[in-house]
């Protein structure tokens, strides 16, 4: 077959007599002159070359052989199973600081201690590539204070045709840049407060995705059941829609890649949904003013749009979010980062804002985790939130083993509610290892 292929190619381009001579062995295939390629087309039949953004590669590292051991089996020629790998992720975070709650009427001002350390995520699982078109992932998660918190994902993605795939099982929908990014690849101690507040849980779902040269889109349905292990069909669930476009353009001496995205989630069950939101603070009181939260925030419409920009050592993530339901809230994230020492030391910044006109509409957790899913963290309520984070990440091994440290200043206003405004300042430090 390998011998026939060049002949077929020559037959397509060369004069018929030449092709016959090659077949009869009178001429070598390499001696036959090929007609010039049409203008704007290479001899291989490719389209004119478009600008391509190449992801920077990692230089060899002493730990390469260690990380390579995570792949237990690999054989691309095997028709049934092509790869079996162990996956794992550990993240430990510590915070040192305090939150100062304003004095209101007879209630004196109060300091809330934010010191603490926590295993925010610990996962162990497996990844399997089968039938040359299906990727299966399974992860068990131990989080919070090290307790088993369930199956984080158990999903499969099958490629139907090149560029078109279907994903099914338990997984989390794509929503905002930060929530769509694997936790192990997040450059911050945790996701932004508003994303943690509105993002739905990982649950049973079915999602169709299309990936084109520039446009990507996806449409899916997810259950309202938020069982920690194996969720079932419950309620009407929620619909998820993603659209994105990637632009690659020259910028000075380098190439810049910009990815714009638009994500929309329609929660058909409203406040009855178990997976949206993915935490439960109803019946608990806030650390600022002991304000009782009577019910969890319930949103029917979740919307996000933003861009991510990569150019050389510089990256930027900008996201605008809007949530509407029993209450209305919005948020903004601006996160630049820059490699001070490419591959080793990264400077990371993030400004995050969230707002609402309704009293106590925002749920904010501070300390070792800003995720209210860790319900042992002190949480605060308010209607305007500002967070400024500046830190540095030391990459010991690629993006898979790093130390993080940074300073965060938080301003939470509670003007529409009990006026228990809160200012917090804290140092974050932590470590991540993933394979």
């Amino acid at each position: 077959m390998k011998a026939i292929l060049p002949l077929l190619l020559i037959c397509g381009f060369a004069h018929a007599n030449d092709a016959l001579d090659v077949l009869e062995g009178k001429k070598n295939a390499s001696d036959v002159p090929l007609p010039p390629a049409a203008e704007g087309e290479s001899a291989d039949g490719d389209k004119p070359e478009s600008l391509v953004y190449t992801e920077p590669q990692w230089a060899p590292s002493p730990l390469d052989p260690v990380w390579a051991r995570a792949i237990l089996f690999e054989n691309v020629a095997n028709p049934w199973v092509q790869q079996i790998a162990v996956t794992g992720f550990f993240e430990g975070q510590a915070a040192f600081g305090k939150a100062e709650v304003d004095e209101v009427d007879a209630t004196p001002s109060k300091d809330v201690d934010l010191d603490g350390s926590r295993t925010t995520r610990a996962r162990l699982g497996a990844r399997l590539r089968a039938f040359r078109n299906t990727d299966i992932e399974a992860n068990a998660e131990f989080a919070g204070n090290g307790h088993y918190s369930g199956v984080e994902r158990l999903s499969a993605r099958t490629e139907i045709t090149p560029g078109d795939s279907v994903k099914y099982g338990k997984f989390r929908p794509n929503f905002t840049t930060e929530y769509s990014t694997e936790d192990s690849r997040l450059p911050y101690p945790d996701r932004s407060m508003f994303i943690n507040m509105i993002a739905p849980a990982s649950t049973l779902g079915l999602m169709f995705n299309h990936r084109g040269p520039t446009w990507d889109c996806g449409l899916g349905w997810f259950s309202s059941d938020a069982h920690p292990d194996f969720p079932g069909f419950e309620g009407d669930g929620f619909l998820a829609f993603n659209l994105s476009r990637t632009f690659v353009e020259p910028s000075g001496q380098s190439v810049m890649r910009t990815r714009w995205h638009l994500d929309y989630i329609h929660n058909l069950d409203g406040s009855a949904s178990g997976s949206n939101p993915r935490y439960n603070v109803a019946g608990r009181t806030s650390a600022n003013g002991n304000q009782l939260v009577t019910q969890n925030p319930a949103f029917r419409h979740l919307f996000s749009t933003g861009v991510t920009i990569d150019q050389g050592d510089f990256s930027f993530n900008g996201d605008f979010m809007f949530a509407k339901g029993d209450t209305t809230a919005w948020g903004l994230t601006l996160g630049p980062s820059y490699w001070l020492l490419p591959g080793t030391l990264k400077l990371v910044g993030r400004y995050h804002y969230a707002g609402s006109n309704d009293p106590g509409a925002l749920i904010a957790t501070m300390g070792a985790s800003s995720d209210p899913a860790f319900d042992d963290s002190p949480f605060f309520v308010g209607d305007e939130f500002h967070s400024f984070y500046l830190g540095a990440n030391l990459h010991l091994y690629e993006d898979q083993m790093l130390l993080m440290s940074g300073f965060e200043q938080i301003i939470l206003k509670d003007e529409a509610g009990g006026k228990f405004n809160t200012d917090a300042a804290m140092w974050h430090t932590g470590a991540k290892v993933s394979f």
Binding site: A59, S61, P62, L396
Partner: protein, 201 residues
């Protein structure tokens, strides 16, 4: 009768191999710090560490000798480089072909076989006995080596393309990870020269 035929065949075989080229592997090893128990020689050259494996020698029925050896560029981090040098000699010890294959950072490298070039035709002397500049001396073996390393450098360029833009994590930086094209080329050339010096025609 059978004994006589066997004797004749043995004599002919010995006669044919008595004209074959040979290789002084011990002398080659001695010039590289000597062979160790594991039949490799370790040495430093142009600030890089190398390990050369004991050569393999095979003969064709016509008496041509194929000599090959593996040269490893040792890196403290990563995979370094592994290269195979293959030389083919005629029965009279004339280098007829040379090739380098290798693997660097999991990328394959192959110079292809460099064959012995024909000597260029002599230009006819100009009429009238006018003075002419004598042509540059032609050394086929030198031409082959020059061609080999021209191809090798081109292959290395492909293999290490984009290496300048690679990101090095902390451990990679501490260990020093770069397989430098110049280092490897110099080390292989050193091995090729020593191999040629230890071939007996």
């Amino acid at each position: 009768m059978k004994f006589q035929i066997a004797h004749i065949i043995t004599t002919l075989a010995l006669a044919s191999f008595s004209f074959a080229a040979s290789f002084d592997a011990e002398g080659f090893g001695t010039s590289l710090n000597g062979w160790q128990k594991n039949r490799t020689a370790s040495y430093a050259f142009t600030d890089a560490k190398y390990r050369t494996h004991f050569p393999t020698i095979t003969y064709s029925p016509s008496g041509a000798m194929f000599l090959s050896t593996q040269v490893d560029l040792l890196a403290d981090a990563g995979k370094g480089a592994i290269c195979q040098i293959g030389l083919t000699f005629s029965s009279s010890g004339v280098l007829e072909g040379i090739q380098i294959k290798g693997s660097i950072n999991n990328k394959a490298l192959d110079t292809g076989l460099v064959r012995r070039p024909e000597a260029p035709a002599m230009a006819p002397a100009p009429a009238g006995g006018a003075a002419v500049t004598p042509p540059r001396p032609f050394h086929a073996t030198d031409e082959m080596i020059a061609e080999l390393f021209t191809r090798f450098d081109a292959e290395m360029k492909k293999v290490t393309e984009g290496k300048e833009t690679m990101r090095s994590d902390l451990l990679s930086r501490l260990a020093g990870n770069n397989v430098k094209s110049a280092d490897l080329s110099a080390g292989l050339r050193h091995n090729v020269n020593l191999m040629l010096q230890h071939v007996n025609g």
